[in-house]
């Protein structure tokens, strides 16, 4: 597998009016993302997650360090505008507020907006729009008014827009934060599907710990740096570290952790509610209780 993103000691600061107002948002961040994987980035407000997302979309470029996107070093002194422009086509972003990212009044026009701007043939646009809407389960809404959709539906239309542009990597910046439970389930289902079935590289920034259990890898940020990374099981098996970073662990993991502290021999990691119950029953059984 190839690395779609490679960051080495990347730093970025927001300049204020005075030196005191300068904020170092990212400090020497290094990590790699394999093409086709699902990465979740966790971290408290102000830990640098969104700044990192902006660098990966090349909205901003790092102040120092090396950032290689799809084999192109965008921090190279002689990198050209054209190179950056081409790379931006590969990486898309879906934001938090569903109402801020719909540009057309009709759903299918909104999805077609991106490919139209890329100068794609009309017949090809038609094919892409249909495919993209079907991938997020929104085909029946193609001719509907976008303003009258629910939050979760709007987010799925935004995802379809990115799909229609044939993005190879999509960054979701808290795209489920404003949704109700059903909307969240729908959007997560679409995100997981486009990773597993379309092979798109997914980077998901979230405050919902249970969404991290879908990931191949979790990166935990604090104070502008990466403090922990690993599989969801590895990261969540150290709840104290997560709490210290202002985060939580999924409720299933937290229950196992509390029971473990009380002396029950259970493994820590991510699990579904039914797996969690089975683990507890098993451990109680081994303990010799009448179960």
């Amino acid at each position: 597998m190839s690395k779609i993103i490679k960051a080495e000691n990347v730093s970025f600061a927001y300049e204020g009016d005075t030196p005191e107002e300068r904020v170092e948002a990212l400090k020497n961040v290094s990590f790699e993302i394999e093409e086709g994987t699902f990465t979740v980035i966790l971290g408290r407000n102000g830990s640098g997650k969104s700044t990192l997302a902006k660098l990966l979309c090349m909205v901003n470029l790092p102040d120092s360090g090396r950032l290689v996107i799809d084999g192109v070093d965008v921090t190279r002194g002689d990198v050209t505008e054209d190179e950056i422009y081409d790379l931006r086509r590969e990486i898309g972003m879906v934001f938090q507020n569903p109402d801020n990212q719909i540009v057309a009044t009709i759903v299918e026009d909104d999805v077609a907006f991106g490919p139209e701007n890329l100068g794609i043939e009309p017949a090809e646009i038609r094919r892409r729009v249909d495919e993209a809407l079907s991938a997020v389960g929104m085909s029946e809404y193609a001719r509907h008014s976008a303003s009258r959709l629910s939050g979760g539906q709007k987010q799925r239309v935004a995802i379809a827009g990115a799909l229609a542009m044939k993005r190879r990597c999509i960054i979701f910046d808290e795209s489920t934060a404003m949704l109700d439970p059903l909307g969240r389930r729908e959007v997560m289902k679409s995100i997981v599907r486009l990773n597993r079935e379309e092979g798109i590289t997914v980077i998901l920034i979230t405050h919902y710990m249970n969404e991290a259990s879908f990931a191949d890898r979790v990166i935990v940020m604090e104070d502008g740096g990466v403090v922990t990374e690993g599989t969801p099981d590895e990261v969540f098996s150290r709840p104290e570290e997560m709490f210290a970073a202002g985060l939580e662990v999924p409720q299933t993991t937290e229950l196992l952790w509390r029971l473990r502290k009380a002396g029950l021999d259970v493994p820590l990691g991510t699990c579904t509610p039914s797996e969690c119950a089975a683990i507890i029953k098993d451990a109680l059984g081994k303990r010799g209780d009448a179960v």
Binding site: G43, R44, N45, G46, Q96, R148, S150, G151, G152, E174, A177, M178, L179, D180, P181, L182, G183, R185, H207, M209, N210, G246, L247, E248, P250, Q251, T252, E254, L255, R258, L259, K261, A262, G263, L264, P273, S274, C276, A277, A278, I280, K281, L284, R287, D289, V291
Partner: protein
């Protein structure tokens, strides 16, 4: 009506947006609901279920087409009632309140409400500091422009602006949306203590089942503008399938409790916080009592 202990009450209220045109929407349909005094009531429901419209009725921002809104025993739309007085009593923190800051300084913004209530200039500063402290806002920021604050700080400043009026009924629309877990727990914990320490009434609208499970005594469930249930938090979360059918859910831990029941090692189905689930299991199986 006597015998109830409601700080506020909706009596058969209805509200329709865009009446008479193609986009007509019956946002609130025949809702009757009492908000218990001195408790934290959560209002849950999927997007478009009428939650925000309903709570805006509590301080008269939305006038029901028919029905009555009662606050402290009086119909707020009665001709003799001054709406200003209702708004001083019912503090409403809207969704994303950080976009509603307007004054030149954070202090001016927080002082706006109490100044309008007629609080003396001498007492104003004390109120502002108290409200900032309550909201977890560093008092060093009071002299700054609200636009120089971070998102989280703005949220706190907006909350402080409502708290400075010391409302006896505090109503919040998604107060923790967009905050990280520690920020969520801090803000919701402070709101909970406002209720617990002073006996105030709190109403919270939220999409997070985990949050309402942790902080609310009672839950009102809305679906398509109608009230479909109102009960204690534990009773509401025993109806998992019903909640899922209207786009909601139960906390993950409640699902674990259900599975434990099925496996015969359960501790009841009325489990909706992790702490409670762990305590019940530890107690039932005498965990942590001198065993290896």
């Amino acid at each position: 009506m006597t015998g109830n202990n409601f700080a506020a009450e909706f009596r058969a209220v209805n509200y329709t947006y865009n009446k008479g045109i193609a986009y007509e929407k019956h946002a609130v349909a025949d809702v009757s609901l009492g908000i218990e005094r001195g408790r934290v009531t959560g209002i849950i429901g999927s997007t478009g279920s009428g939650k925000s419209t309903l709570i805006k009725m509590l301080n008269g921002l939305v006038k029901p087409d028919d029905g009555e809104v009662i606050v402290d025993g009086v119909n707020i739309w009665d001709k003799k009632v001054k709406m200003r007085d209702v708004r001083f009593k019912v503090g409403l923190v809207m969704q994303y309140p950080e976009y509603q800051l307007f004054d030149e300084t954070v202090e001016g913004d927080i002082a706006f409400g109490p100044r309008n209530m007629g609080v003396s200039e001498g007492e104003l500063h004390e109120r502002v500091v108290e409200a900032a402290g309550f909201s977890g806002l560093d008092t060093a920021l009071l002299s700054k422009s609200p636009f120089d604050l971070s998102g989280g700080q703005k949220r706190r400043a907006a909350l402080a602006g409502v708290m400075a009026m010391r409302p006896s009924i505090l109503v919040l629309d998604e107060p923790a949306a967009g905050l990280d877990p520690s920020g969520r727990n801090e803000i919701l914990g402070r709101i909970k203590s406002y209720q617990r320490e002073n006996g105030n009434t709190v109403v919270i609208v939220s999409h997070s089942m985990e949050d309402v499970a942790k902080y609310c005594d009672r839950l009102a469930v809305l679906s398509e503008g109608r009230l479909v249930a109102c009960d204690t938090t534990e009773n509401i979360f025993t109806e998992g399938e019903k909640l899922q059918s209207i786009g909601l859910d139960v906390p993950e831990i409640t699902k674990v409790a259900d599975e434990l029941e099925k496996l015969g090692v359960g501790v009841g189905r009325d489990v909706y916080t992790v702490k409670y689930a762990a305590e019940k299991l530890i107690e039932k199986y005498a965990l942590g009592k001198g065993r290896e």
